[in-house]
């Protein structure tokens, strides 16, 4: 919270500090821009592994901005950041492993009847 706090000046009782929302709209702009770029790739590029990797990289980038800024994780302690990130990294490993497994099972099934 400290990093986004409004410039501190002593407030009179009942007075409300000025909103400090620039960083929120900036993050919003980034998220919209990334989504727009994704749509450009949907329509201008033929489906391929490269296109899918671009989508995944852009998705992770969007996730980073949501988690770091909106959920404020960037401004928490290092311990909390690692507590969240390490299990998620393991999940991604599981995802990649099982997708590879899926391709293999598919190959086996499809070549079984040839």
């Amino acid at each position: 919270m400290a990093s986004h706090a409004t410039t501190e000046h002593t407030l009179a009782p009942g007075e409300i500090a000025k909103p400090n929302t620039g960083w929120i709209w900036k993050t919003f702009g980034v998220l919209v821009a990334i989504t727009a770029i994704e749509f450009v790739f949907v329509f201008l590029m033929h489906p391929s592994t490269l296109r899918n990797s671009i989508f995944i990289v852009l998705t992770i980038l969007k996730a980073f901005f949501i988690v770091a800024e909106f959920m404020h994780l960037k401004h928490e302690t290092k311990g909390l950041i690692w507590t969240i990130l390490v299990p998620v990294a393991l999940l991604i490993w599981l995802l990649v492993a099982l997708i590879t497994e899926g391709s293999f099972i598919g190959e086996v099934l499809q070549s079984m009847f040839k």
């Binding site: 919270m1 986004h4 706090a5 409004t6 409300i16 500090a17 909103p19 400090n20 929302t21 929120i24 709209w25 993050t27 919003f28 998220l31 919209v32 989504t35 994704e38 749509f39 949907v42 329509f43 033929h46 489906p47 899918n52 989508f55 995944i56 852009l58 998705t59 969007k62 996730a63 949501i66 988690v67 800024e69 909106f70 959920m71 928490e76 302690t77 311990g79 909390l80 507590t83 969240i84 299990p87 998620v88 999940l91 599981l94 995802l95 099982l98 997708i99 590879t100 497994e101 899926g102 391709s103 099972i105 598919g106 099934l109 499809q110």
Partner: protein
Amino acid sequence: MAQSTTLQHPAASATHDAPRTGNWDGGNEPFKASYGKLMMWFFLLSDAFTFAAFLTTYGMIRHKHEVFTGEAKDFFFSTRWWPIPDHVFNAFPGMGEANVPLGFVALMTMILILSSVTMVLAVEAGHRMDKADVQKWLLWTILFGATFLCSQAWEWSHFIHGHAEPTIMADGTKFFGANLSMNQYGPVLFADLFFFITGFHGTHVFSGVCLLVWCFIATTNGTFEKRGHYEMIEKIGLYWHFVDLVWVFVFTFFYLV
């Protein structure tokens, strides 16, 4: 417990109200986050496990199926291969059978991102103890959340009723739309996964909207003002951003890839 303390209302004794400061009796804040926020983070992590299980299942099943190898314009629905998403999700409310590939889902994504922004604005207003602003931004968030839910209802309805072009079954009958055991778009599991993944996400959005309505009522009643902080808005906000985050992934893996 060796101690024998008579149970009484905490307010009755000042010692019960005194803040506990020792390391091992509750005075310590791990990771410098409050108990509630920390538990919300851990809950969200466990929820991420559930969604990751769904998406992992989706990835594995999808890769198990054949890929359509021809030109995109020659694509037609068949149970032989996994459908190309822009051919399935190409309708827009009020535009009949016009081909608007991924148009509606783009709108839904924008609505959810916007709702996330209004949520942070509510949290920010809470830090400033600005009750009116908190109410305003909570209402916007509720509005966007409800709009997203309605959009999803439309999307489901269209998916279930199907496109104008039916799939001709082996015995010559025409089949429109989708249910859990049959669908016109592709392999059975395609529709099943659509229902389960977007349905589970929609349930989360629905719970989120309920929580936000509750937060709005509590704010209006001055509950948080009396408490001296708007941390509840922050905790519900974490949940709401998580729901947005999940949609970012569902959007990529279900609609784009």
